[in-house]
């Protein structure tokens, strides 16, 4: 930059212009067209919603919008991937929903680490109403209450109390005897994070020789299924069962993150 020569300029005019710019910067009305233009530019670049220049918490509107978007994404993420938060008061990102391949139970939230076996949750209140003490109260027996779900596949024997996370197994009399083979049922002995087998949902494992497990016993070895449905007798589906897609969401920067099941 070439340094201007001060002696070429009238010192008085220089001081006047300095004062003029001070007035324009302070927002005072100025008659000079150049200073008025600068004041107009200053007003044009001010944030319209800031309500002030500083100290008011009003940053650029677009920056605040970005923050708001990020907050919204966070809330959506929390609601979407942390379904267990509301029901269990705890978020276990790596606890997979223990939905076995033999049961097409939709919308099963992931259990907490302390929940033990399989959790089948319709809703916290409904689960309590039905399973408190192992049986549905007499007043509710035989009734189809709002919120009840009807499953085409039987419910596993070792249904546990979801809302308490206690992992109590229901007494035998609370469970119908015609449930599927124990090998395909989740048990308290099964690893909680066992991966879903890559087989058809209708496919049941058929060990060569194994004791027949009763519906109330927790097998330690894969038993032979005792009941076979027409779907089970049919040849396995040609399309392999695909494990549920991991929970994923998009980040604000456009990336993608996943939670493994």
């Amino acid at each position: 930059m070439t340094t201007p020569e001060p002696e070429q300029d009238d010192p008085r005019a220089v001081e006047q212009d300095d004062a003029l710019l001070d007035a324009a910067a302070s927002g005072a009305p100025v008659e000079d067209p150049a200073a008025a233009l600068l004041a107009q530019i200053a007003r044009a670049v001010e944030e319209p919603t800031s309500g002030g220049s500083e100290g008011d918490g009003g940053g650029p509107r677009h920056l605040r919008t970005l923050w708001g978007t990020a907050l919204g994404v966070s809330v959506a993420l929390a609601l979407g991937s942390g379904l267990g938060v509301a029901a269990y008061g705890e978020f276990a990102p790596h606890s997979a929903p223990a939905v076995q391949s033999g049961f097409a139970v939709p919308d099963v939230p992931s259990p907490t680490p302390g929940s033990g076996g399989v959790t089948v949750t319709v809703s916290a209140e409904r689960s309590l109403a039905r399973f408190e003490g192992g049986v549905r109260p007499a007043s509710l027996l035989g009734s189809q209450l709002p919120g009840d779900r009807t499953y085409s596949q039987p419910v596993p024997t070792e249904v546990t109390r979801a809302s308490t996370g206690s992992g109590h197994r229901l007494p035998p009399h609370a469970v119908p005897a015609h449930r599927g083979p124990a090998a395909s049922r989740p048990t308290d002995h099964a690893p909680r994070r066992a991966p879903a087998p890559a087989v058809s949902p209708s496919h049941r494992p058929e060990p060569a020789s194994a004791p027949v497990a009763g519906p109330t016993t927790a097998p330690s070895a894969p038993p032979t299924p005792t009941v076979r449905t027409p779907a089970e007798t049919a040849p396995p589906a040609t399309t392999a069962y695909s494990a549920p897609a991991p929970w994923r969401y998009r980040t604000a920067s456009g990336g993608e993150r996943r939670f493994r099941r």
Binding site: T3, D22, A25, P33, L37, I41, V45, E46
Partner: protein, 195 residues
């Protein structure tokens, strides 16, 4: 439009330099709007101004421990960083290809719509066009003085020059601007008369 000087922020700056994260946040929150206004006036492009503002705030946070109160006010320090960031952005603009988007981004509540935003930006560019004929240094001085609200002394510190030099620059810049505006007004009058 005159903003608080570095003296008013000195306590906050001291806390921020001591490592108080809350003070750093508060400092950035107070200055961000001013930085954005100045950067937008210099660049004239809102999206780029937001990026440069963000880069300035990040650089400011990193440079806080290096700020020495005896070498000028904090605002001059901040706008010195912003001025450098603007120069870097302008230099890299030619190397950065612009990609047209197929759709306008979704409108968010509270923000002006795309059409309104375009109108505002057009109006701003129309105002800034009057400064186009000025040397970059002259534009910088005028905008630091009026938009950023710095005094002549703070402007001098931000641009690493003397206050006397700033006063002369702004005097010449204003004279040039007056002449341009006068010429434009005369040409506008002539065109009105001929039509």
């Amino acid at each position: 439009m005159r903003h608080a000087g570095g003296e008013e922020l000195s306590e906050l700056v001291g806390q921020a330099r001591a490592g108080n994260a809350g003070a750093v946040d508060e400092l950035v929150r107070r200055l961000r709007s001013r930085i954005f206004s100045y950067v937008l006036a210099r660049i004239g492009r809102r999206e780029e101004a937001e990026d440069v503002t963000q880069e300035t705030c990040i650089a400011l946070t990193a440079a806080l421990p290096g700020f020495k109160a005896g070498r000028g006010t904090f605002t001059s320090f901040v706008f010195g960083i912003a001025s450098n960031k603007i120069l870097m952005s302008q230099r890299s603009r030619g190397r950065r290809p612009e990609v047209a988007v197929a759709e306008l981004p979704d409108e968010t509540s509270g923000a002006p719509g795309p059409a309104e935003q375009i109108e505002q930006d057009d109006a701003l560019r129309g105002l800034l066009a009057h400064l186009d004929g000025l040397p970059e240094r002259h534009r910088d001085v005028l905008l630091l003085r009026v938009v950023a609200g710095l005094s002549a002394e703070d402007t001098a510190r931000a641009l690493e020059t003397t206050a006397a030099n700033v006063r002369v620059i702004q005097h010449r810049a204003l004279a040039s601007l007056r002449a341009r505006l006068g010429n434009e007004a005369e040409s506008g009058d002539e065109s009105t008369e001929t039509s």
